[in-house]
């Protein structure tokens, strides 16, 4: 597993890092075509390497709530609640539709920054992606 993905220190975050298996990003291909397919990861070699990151939506919480990823990472949210949720950028950069149980939504973060998001159906549910 790549150590280039500095997740937050919560144990569940590390589990997310393990399940979100990294892929080698081939130069010239969009990261969105490459990330998070579950293939075994190769050792990181260059700065172009990108790891997929996975976030679970469970019991009305984004878990982990804060994730730090390198530029180019595709983050995938999966709803594990029976109640639908959305993943909606506070700055309106992206939004999923209502995700039913088992459905996923992905977004690739191409620029550094701090991105907050929430669930439109339950706006008290919030999360943050820090892209470095």
């Amino acid at each position: 597993m790549t150590s280039r993905v500095p997740f937050t220190s919560k144990p569940s975050a590390w589990r997310a890092a393990v399940t979100g298996a990294a892929l080698i990003a081939l130069l010239g291909l969009p990261a969105s075509l490459l990330a998070a397919q579950g293939a075994p990861s190769a050792p990181p070699v260059t700065a172009a390497k990108v790891a997929g990151s996975k976030i679970s939506i469970e019991n009305f919480e984004f878990s982990p709530r804060t994730v730090t990823v390198p530029v180019g990472t595709m983050v995938t949210w999966t709803n594990n609640d029976g109640e639908p949720h959305t993943v909606t950028s506070s700055a309106k950069l992206f939004s999923s539709s209502g995700l039913d149980e088992g459905e996923s939504f992905s977004y690739t973060f191409a620029s550094p920054g701090t991105y907050t998001y929430y669930c439109q159906l339950h706006p008290h549910m919030t999360g943050t992606i820090v892209v470095k």
Partner: protein, 336 residues
């Protein structure tokens, strides 16, 4: 956030048992001096799916089997349905259109044809494409002359209510609130799902509260008032968002009336209480039940319900109005 707490202990509502009595209330008589023991019984679904609660002889809630044998009663009746969640297709109900149709069938089979139907929101399941069409198409088979709607959060979250208002907001004010008079009763539909913001509670907002104040302003205190809205106006279980943050401001405007009936949805189960001259009632869903407050890690479809019992937890609410007799008689019917 202002949370309104009734004098009785809300947690008593949480037990999924039959005849959950309010043992706390007798120790603390309310400000209006009414002993709540006789007035208040929390209702919960029962093992057989039968709901049966009589409170002080003024509120009744019966299974359809009981209601069907009784002669029509009152000057007129109307029906509340709620939380149809068209587009939902998972456990414990993979065909919510079929159960909506069953509810419609039950309504059409009532001995006294209801004058109209109130739908208290969540017509759609997270605004799934085509859901509003399916709902509208199915409700056309109702014998009742008209359906009045208020939105649930599932109907408005994605577009701020644009499509909902275009489809179902005819004749409403502001962002979907409305009032109308029927045979001397003032009906008020409120929208409390548009501004959840950072809170998990429903919210009416100052614009709507101003309108409500004006709308009720000219009414005599003897006018019966029926308020319908999606999220409960009373604090059923704020931990799960089953409350309206500024609901108390609306209730304060209603307290001077001699008979107020508040009909809500959202929580997919029947609960009711009487507070002074106000009766609060939540309706079952036509689509799927939710767990009792605190009965699961989080709210949502209650999947653990055995298949043969699901329909006992779905249903509709019939309300009979009898002039000079208050409050209104409320009858819950399951689809079982």
């Amino acid at each position: 956030v202002t949370e309104w707490h009734s004098p009785h202990k809300e947690d008593n509502m949480a037990e999924p048992t039959i005849d959950t009595h309010d043992d706390q209330s007798t120790d603390h008589p309310s400000e209006d001096g009414i002993d709540r023991r006789g007035f208040l019984e929390c209702m919960a679904w029962a093992g057989t799916g039968v709901l049966l609660t009589v409170s002080g002889g003024v509120l009744s809630s019966r299974t359809l089997a009981h209601a069907a044998g009784a002669p029509p009663e009152g000057d007129f009746s109307f029906v509340q349905i709620s939380d149809s969640h068209i587009g939902f297709s998972a456990e414990p109900n993979r065909d919510v259109t079929a159960t909506l149709q069953q509810a419609i069938g039950k309504i059409n089979a009532l001995q006294s044809v209801p004058e109209f139907v109130l739908h208290t929101g969540d017509l759609s399941h997270s605004q799934k494409p085509g859901a509003f069409d399916t709902l509208a198409e199915n409700l056309k088979s109702l014998k009742a002359r008209q359906v009045f709607y208020v939105p649930g959060e599932h109907d408005v979250f994605a577009d701020g209510g644009k499509e909902y208002l275009n489809r179902f907001g005819g004749g409403t004010k502001g962002k979907g609130w409305q009032s109308f008079d029927y045979k001397g009763v003032r009906f008020v539909g409120l929208v409390n799902v548009l501004t959840f913001k950072e809170s998990r509670l429903g919210s009416l907002g100052p614009e709507q509260l101003d309108w409500l104040k004006q709308d009720l302003g000219g009414l005599s205190g003897s006018t019966p008032v029926v308020v319908f809205a999606h999220v409960p106006l009373w604090a059923v279980y704020p931990q799960w968002g089953w409350a309206t943050g500024d609901g108390e401001q609306a209730l304060a405007l209603l307290r001077r009336f001699g008979s107020v009936t508040v009909l809500n949805g959202h929580i997919h189960q029947v609960m009711q209480k009487v507070e002074g001259n106000m009766t609060f009632h939540t309706a079952m869903s036509t689509a799927f039940p939710q767990p009792p407050p605190g009965g699961a890690p989080s709210p949502g479809p209650w999947k653990q319900v055995p298949e043969d019992r699901v329909k006992s937890m779905l249903g509709l609410t019939q309300v009979n109005y009898v002039e000079r007799k208050s409050p209104l008689a409320i009858i819950d019917s399951t689809l079982a």
